[in-house]
Symmetry: none
DNA sequence: TATGAATGAGAATTCATTCAT
DNA sequence: CATGAATGAATTCTCATTCAT
């Protein structure tokens, strides 16, 4: 009630991003259905009505949150995968390290959780996520593997299968962090996990003597 | 109204299990919050009120669903892991094949999705899932790896990291099936994926010539 | 809180009609948009949620109210119009008297007001009202006039125009009662108005000497 | 920004009238409650906030709309009714023809609809409409009838009843146009209807032979 | 004056839960 | 035990009104 404290401020430019950021927190924490617009509005520091100036419905806002999370890093990683002219093993180490960093620092974990949870209720989002994230990352790695095979660096075998083998621990680390760390499980260092995994999968688990 | 109607008797005892099964379907499809007790009751072929004869609240029913999904197969796999007296590679192949079968045939995929989605809202369930599923499976594999290392079959290195490297593609295959197949992505053969992965991770991706 | 006072009672049979009756009062009083479901529920002696057991939406309830008001009397009047084998003037007196009674005793006035008010927002209702009420009544009178003309009792001229001349004071009396009486205008005796009008329109306003 | 821009100047003074005109459209179309100030502002070509520079509240604007629609024509008709020194039948024909023209060309139909619809929510408006429109028109006709009776041109009988008989088809024609024409009913020519009615009511429907 | 972003009090609708039958 | 009608708290969405610009 102190005069000079405007009830609100005009921020037309910044508002949508602020709201999306706040919504990401709340959606990631509680899931789509359990998230209340009251909470999101409060987190964004606006009134409930203001949400509707920028997003038509709750679903709309949810969609915006998920789409927003996609854009930045994927294209970068994708491009890096093939541009580099180095031995397969080095490219892979760089790439997976980079991916681990992205996962560690961005909000992508929470969004992935949401997409998994709401894939049936929001098939469009699952489709976008598939096309724009999962498939793109996978395809980049497949291409890399194929290049390695052509160069005689990588064993023969289904490149898509190898791609799965390469990246799935990243996903698992992500989910571990999202699901189990909050309830007190030991946190994982995703980068360390990724590096350890890369060495294992490059050289194999077996010792020389144990090989068939 | 004649007492002793056998069909009725049988129903009465089977009711809770029928309800849990129906609830699993609905929860897995729509998530906890979006699932309506009306739907569950209809799917179970009982009245909505009847649900409350067996479960105190919706949360209670959800908890029952998740717990029910855990019990059967884990202990079996766990036991198998160490009991077998074979070379590491063979045990691992058997074990992962077995795991892939379980994942392919049971409803565990839908439940995993639910646990991921509701981990914040139902931390108890996340804890149960961690203790009873994730950690047990992981520990079994860690033990197996350690045994292999002691026998000189497996390279030195963090056994927990190796365990992650070994099982994460199974999880990823699971989620792929739950999330992307319903929207039209190519289905994955989890067993084939698992087998391919095991060979890759046992022997490594690199050719002899490419090794450092 | 007195025990033995059930919080509610099962009345599946009677409820819809009770709700429609209550809704008629509220809708007629405040119009569709200004009527709150809270008020309707309170007037019907049920909870707000109970309305949704019987009607899908507020619009649905409104539609039901309007349709319900139509049914009973129209067909009767319609049938009476032609069945009678009497001189035109007598049939008309009987008929209009009967119509005046219906208007005086039924809730049709409030409903007509609603249909007028919401004709743009609920074109379906306007259509139903046109087909089932306005046009039917009008057509019955048209037929009666034509019969009278054939018998040489009624002057030549557009029967539809005559029909308008015959019944419009009923409508006007209705609206007078709905609109002006509540604010303190002198009430009209619709029956007396109708009878007076019938004599005027049968014999004409002009004296013999004043006729062209 | 140069002061003295004539186009601007003119606008400024015309604004309230423009707003009222736009509001009339929207209110007549959707009713008071369902009309949104956004729509009215858009129709008037001003911002929503600008409405509040000229009208305190939505109700205020509605009131202004209804009052504005009244003023012009009533007094004129009223004066005409008695000033003319002609036979009753001729005056009536002139008068009703004039009234039909007014109804056909002005927005009075939409306003009448609004007054009917909102008479309970805006009793003041019903009162104004009663005093300034309905009663004045009716009284003018009553006076005319009385003059005709005094001159021996009009039969004895309640003049107010005769007045109702005379003008109600105009109202009915109006409502027909507002309510049923938009849903596809055959439009009525209000003037033709009025003329036909006047002849019918002046001379009566019955043939000489059929009179009692 | 004029704008339109922001507010916040409602209102419709949903659904877990209860309880008379 | 079983039912399902009824409840009412909770939530999304709307829109008249305000006010910083």
């Amino acid at each position: 009630m102190t005069p000079g404290q405007p009830k609100w401020r005009r921020r037309k430019e910044a508002r949508p991003a602020e709201i999306v950021a706040a919504a990401l927190e709340v959606f990631a924490g509680k899931g789509f259905a359990a998230a209340r617009l009251d909470d999101i509005a409060a987190a964004a520091g606006v009134s409930k009505g203001a949400l509707y100036l920028y997003f038509e419905t709750k679903q709309d806002l949810f969609t915006a949150v998920v789409r927003t999370a996609i854009t930045p890093n994927i294209a970068e990683i994708e491009a890096a995968a093939l541009a580099m002219d180095m031995p397969f093993a080095r490219v892979l180490r760089l790439l997976v390290g980079r991916g681990a960093d992205v996962l560690s620092t961005s909000a992508i974990g929470g969004v992935a959780k949401m997409v998994i949870a709401e894939s049936r209720n929001f098939p469009d989002l699952a489709r976008v996520w598939h096309d724009e994230v999962a498939n793109r990352v996978l395809s980049a790695i497949v291409a890399l593997v194929e290049k390695g095979q052509a160069a005689g660096e990588v064993r023969p075998g289904d490149p898509r299968g190898y791609a799965f083998s390469i990246i799935s621990p990243l996903l698992m680390g992500l989910l571990w962090r999202e699901v189990f760390v909050p309830i007190g499980a030991a946190p994982m260092n995703i980068r360390a996990l990724a590096e350890h995994h890369i060495e294992a999968v490059l050289d194999g688990l077996l010792t020389e003597g144990a090989r068939a």
